[in-house]
């Protein structure tokens, strides 16, 4: 192996990436926009989860105080009230799940409509019924506060978004780019030189890992200035986990890049892998309580292990020893993907 050759192909790849201004900018802007967007949606008091249609109402914007509906229902959180002139228009929206619940304004007995096919409708129905129970009738239950510092939703979501961005960047930045180079003959030209396949794919991997970590630091710093994330554990441990995660994702990208010349087919394969990985790795929502097979299948993705470890460090002050199992799995996956990628790699069409 020649370090001179490796260094110069690495330099060439980095130049290509940094000079592609639009892709370069998007790489930083996209996770930042996502985090900012979710910060706005979930951070403010005005966040509403359920939409309640009320009729008859002269205007779509209704003044809740003046509505003749149960007082306690009005004061519940996460509800947005939308006015309709009559039942027909309200029912039309309910049927198409544009609203979750339809309520006729007026005194008791109240009239409401709800779609049996709507899980949100069911929740609102229960909320509505609960609002009708008099205070004396409330069940005997005592509310307890969560001990310690509360984890904001944005703190929980942020590592997920960063990891997801890493995944897309690793898989597409290596997989797609190498397949494109194979298709247009760049790889064939490189093959006609003493450059070896090992030197070439190592340079691709190092370049991508460097870019992933560089992006991570920039985006983290930028978002932290706005949202002040709370990291209970060590930043160095967190960095090590993201580094290991980016290694395994890049190695997976190399496996996908090892064969094939069709960009369309590669796009399909990349989507086939990245979408389930995004949904099953707890980027957006927890898999707590999901069927056993869903939880088991999520374990095949490196993203799951990277995120589990990162969240443990960030929220539970875990050390690298505490996340040992995740580190071992990520390392084994990296090694496995690298061996497979190198064995399958082909320069030619």
């Amino acid at each position: 192996m020649s370090f001179k050759r490796l260094w110069s192909i690495l330099k060439a790849r980095n130049r290509e990436f940094f000079r592609d201004r639009s892709a370069f900018g998007w790489n930083f802007l996209f996770p930042f926009l996502l985090v900012a967007g979710f910060g706005i949606i979930f951070g403010g008091k005005s966040y509403t989860e359920y939409k309640i249609g009320v009729f008859p109402s002269g205007a779509e914007q209704v003044s809740i105080e003046r509505l003749n509906i149960p007082q306690r229902f009005k004061k519940m959180n996460y509800l947005k009230f939308i006015g309709f002139p009559d039942a027909v228009q309200g029912l039309e929206k309910l049927k198409h799940h544009r609203i979750d619940f339809l309520l006729k304004v007026g005194n008791e007995p109240h009239q409401y409509w709800v779609s049996d096919a709507s899980p949100k409708g069911y929740v609102v129905e229960q909320m509505f019924k609960a609002s009708l129970i008099s205070p004396e009738g409330e069940p005997n239950a005592e509310k307890k506060e969560i001990q310690g510092m509360a984890i904001r939703y944005i703190d929980w979501l942020f590592p997920g978004i960063l990891a997801m961005n890493m995944m897309f960047s690793a898989l597409w930045g290596v997989g797609y780019v190498v397949v494109r180079y194979r298709k247009n003959g760049v790889l064939k030209r490189l093959k006609a030189t003493p450059l070896t396949a090992f030197e070439y794919i190592t340079a691709q991997a190092i370049s991508r890992i460097f870019l992933l970590m560089f992006t991570l630091v920039i985006v983290w710093t930028g978002c932290d200035l706005i949202f002040s994330f709370k990291v209970q554990g060590s930043y160095i441990d967190l960095f090590v986990i993201f580094l290991l995660g980016s290694l395994s994702l890049t190695a997976l990208g190399l496996v996908l890049a090892s064969r094939g010349t069709s960009e369309e087919f590669t796009t399909g394969i990349l989507n086939f892998i990245s979408w389930p990985m995004m949904f099953l790795s707890e980027v957006w929502f927890s898999l707590e309580g999901a069927p056993g097979w869903v939880i088991s299948s999520s374990k095949i993705f490196p993203l799951t292990h990277m995120l589990t470890a990162a969240r443990k460090v960030m929220h539970d002050s875990a050390s690298l020893i505490d996340v040992g199992p995740e580190i071992v799995i990520l390392s084994a996956m990296t090694l496995g993907f690298l061996v497979l990628g190198a064995a399958l790699f082909s320069w030619n069409k």
Binding site: A12, E16, L195
Partner: protein, 294 residues
């Protein structure tokens, strides 16, 4: 003298398609050898197998008397028919990147001078003209001071002036004593550059020799061409075979003097006469019954 390259009974099959069918030849140092043939004849496959870019199905290849080793790539220069290059790199950066792959190299300044790259050296790879690109690809092929140079259709797609420039450049490189294998479907190119030519068709070499030798062997005589309106006779009234081709008539003859005498004796005006010498195009036509670019 020991040949620099020897190819013995080379075969390359893709499933049931035989792309190269038992090709053999050997090259002495310093020659420019042309593989000539129509598209799909197997020229590119032949040289890519020799370049060690694709594996052969059967056959042997010897470089300097021995099978090729990994150092073969250090010693040969390759220009592919169509090559994309690394994106968003300048010509200079690309040269420097490729230079770092080899042990023994030319300097960038030398290559700039030989291949006339100065005017676009700091432009991105994809922002240069067709002629500039071919000179740049040639510079990449020369970067390791190769003893053996492969050029796959080097002038395809170039305008006549750019083509002529490239030919002059290849002649200069040849004058330095390098051995060159080039593929082409331009007869003119083969005649201008090659010391030796092998004509390929359907994966086989069907004739081989110097261009002059091939013409002598496979295409005797000249073709006399006259505009139709200058030839008032019925073709069958003329003592030599006459062929009507669009607005002209063509007379093939081994004795041009006799043909001229006959034309004058029939009172034909020779003002617009053209006499066409045979070329490799005629050789190919005579060998295969087809035109080269059919």
């Amino acid at each position: 003298m020991e040949p620099i390259l020897e190819v013995k009974n080379l075969i390359k099959k893709y499933n049931h398609v035989v792309a190269v069918d038992g090709v053999s030849f050997s090259l002495t140092r310093g020659v420019c050898f042309g593989l000539l043939g129509p598209n799909g004849a197997g020229k590119t496959t032949t040289i890519e197998v020799i370049e060690d870019v694709i594996p052969p199905t059967a056959g042997e290849i010897f470089y300097k008397g021995a099978p090729r080793t990994p150092s073969f790539r250090e010693e040969v220069g390759i220009q592919f028919q169509s090559t994309a290059l690394l994106n968003l790199l300048t010509v200079r950066e690309t040269l420097e990147t490729f230079k770092s792959f080899f042990t023994k190299t030319a300097t960038v300044d030398e290559l700039v001078k030989i291949c006339q790259l100065a005017e676009f050296l700091d432009q991105y790879n994809d922002r240069i003209s067709g002629g500039q690109r071919q000179r740049f690809l040639l510079a990449l092929a020369l970067i390791n001071r190769p003893e053996l140079l492969f050029l796959d259709e080097p002038s395809t797609g170039l305008d006549p002036q750019a083509r002529r420039n490239l030919w002059d450049l290849i002649r200069k490189i040849k004058a330095e004593g390098k051995t060159i294998i080039l593929t082409t479907h331009y007869m003119e190119e083969a005649q201008y550059l090659c010391d030796e030519v092998a004509i390929m068709d359907y994966g086989k070499i069907i004739a081989r020799g110097t261009p002059e030798d091939l013409i002598r062997r496979y295409s005797r005589g000249v073709t006399v061409v006259l505009p139709r309106h200058r030839f008032p006779l019925q073709p069958d009234r003329f003592p030599l075979p006459v062929r009507e081709v669009k607005e002209t008539i063509e007379i093939k003859t081994d004795d041009v003097n006799q043909c001229m005498e006959q034309l004058i004796s029939h009172g034909i005006d020779l003002s617009d006469i053209t006499v066409r010498s045979p070329n490799l195009e005629t050789v190919f036509l005579n060998l295969t019954g087809r035109k080269l670019r059919e």
